[in-house]
Symmetry: D3
Subunit: 129 residues, 6 copies
């Protein structure tokens, strides 16, 4: 794991998070940090967005596809929409997203895929793509 100091990992993670999920979304999230969610925000920025996402072993497109697959399997709609958006920011094409969701249909079941296609439609509409 990344053994750099907390502050460096935090900053590097926050930058990756902004690159992937979008600067305005992350700024809004950071503006809502308070006593209750501060430690969780630190955990997100260091653990998730630096220590994993900044590892060089897989590129961001692949990590986005893995996230779509896992979030579909876990049934986390809200996060799935964030990461459909993020996967487009990372350069995935709509056809590649479609392929992930067709594979979801077989392995996680048709209802999980129905959620995926519905969420994608909503994100595509919001982005106008």
């Amino acid at each position: 794991m990344d053994k750099k100091a907390h502050k460096e990992r935090y900053d590097a993670g926050l930058k990756t998070r902004s690159d992937v999920l979008g600067k305005s979304y992350v700024e809004k999230s950071m503006a809502a940090v308070d006593d209750f969610n501060q430690e969780f925000t630190e955990l997100l920025n260091t653990y998730c967005w630096n220590d994993i996402w900044n590892r060089p072993g897989l590129d961001r497109k692949t990590r986005s596809m893995l996230n779509l697959a896992m979030l579909a399997a876990l049934g986390k709609e809200h996060e799935l929409k964030l990461h459909i958006n993020g996967s487009l920011n990372n350069g995935l094409t709509k056809d590649q997203i479609k392929e992930v969701f067709l594979q979801v249909a077989i392995y996680c079941g048709v209802p999980a895929a129905v959620v995926c296609f519905r969420c994608a439609r909503e994100v595509f509409k919001e982005r106008g793509v």
Copy 2:
């Protein structure tokens, strides 16, 4: 979806299944087909292994990674081991598999990743890699 005749889809899927999961494993599975599991075997060979796996939109390495991520999220140990093996057959390196499972730790939780690392150890030992 693939609109070819059932027989062609079945044969093409069975070939891909053998390529990925290993010829001897699949031959053993096919030898165990009986009245009870015949339709399910057809479903596996056509829908799963042809209609999805033979689509050109994603390469086999990527599909293997997606399967590892989904099977980890779903907690299906037996199938996970099959597909760790399959992912090696498809050319994934152990380092790439490790990256998938570290991402699982964050998104699906540490216990899901414990299962992954344990299953991988067992498969690596069986293959002597």
Copy 3:
């Protein structure tokens, strides 16, 4: 599995889907088919609604009950509501739906059943039953 040609399976599945989920709902879904969800729609109409739902081995009432049980266990609210509606179209009584959901409470836990009873209330209200 059904070995008929793709087109025949597609048409027979689409008909069953309309019978179960309602003609207007399915027409609306079909009108929303685009490049992104076309293959998934084919998969739904052939694989799900023909190859499984049109098998003679179980009647539609039983298949509806199984779907209610699985969708409750999987926590898929949106699909659950569609299939509560579908189960009424297939002739299930409200008392039979209640029995399924009481069994869900014991086997899937009380929170899963809370979702079921809430969804049923909404569907019954929409239908005025």
Copy 4:
């Protein structure tokens, strides 16, 4: 719910449990009751096996099918095997069990159905059917 006294519900539930899961299995379970699992055993015999299973609204065959579907969705292998056995005791045919598991493949995903067909093979072998 059943408003009879605890003792009556307990006895009636224990009888149904023996009818469904088999007398020797249940006798063995009851012989293993100790301080730790006594309350849970009471809960099983009253709530699950009397208050739900003894309700007249669905017959035992249907309840068995619902259990197979839910246990497959929940991924509970050990309990699934018990209830495959129970479903045969309740008069389901192997063809009906097959139909449930094919529907599982579509709605819960192929890996969930792989578990079902593997468990069924084991139970059928143990019973010699």
Copy 5:
């Protein structure tokens, strides 16, 4: 398990449910009882809110924390919000709720914790705390 008569268990459970989830919420729920959900309501009030919640072996704060952990793991948002509210009624501090949700992040994965922190924010806002 509690061997008292149904009526006594029902009344004692309903009282605990009101204490935990709030009198006005429960009164509204009880006013919505009809033929469809009557047995489920009885099951909730006796089985869940008396036979488990009224057991002396764990205090209400601990039971609330367990519920938050389980509902997060199960992904039941609606119930999670009810029990965040209930945990405050039972005297948990916001800091204790935070600790539960940080532990959720590690064991159930980051997306499950994202849901928790979002739900908590909504409940805190509604209560003005």
Copy 6:
């Protein structure tokens, strides 16, 4: 989150892990660390066993109970057994463990609780308690 240096977090987490899961178990795990699972081991020792478990906000007994509840909900049998053992090391009584698992029965469903009671029996037997 803990902002100390990686090495300090690692050592403090490893100590807590040994206290909870047992020295011999953890020594055996650490002896099996290799190139494949090294980063995951670091993640376990720092994030899980230091950054969460060493937070003062909840005592170890409470954290053990939360883990039992989450692992039951997630259906992770292998980890559940480790943490039943750990909860006894942390001073939980068998009666308190029983209470957690009875609450699991209601909220996660009876099959999840069957797994819990079976795992507990195995752990108690191994420890001779």
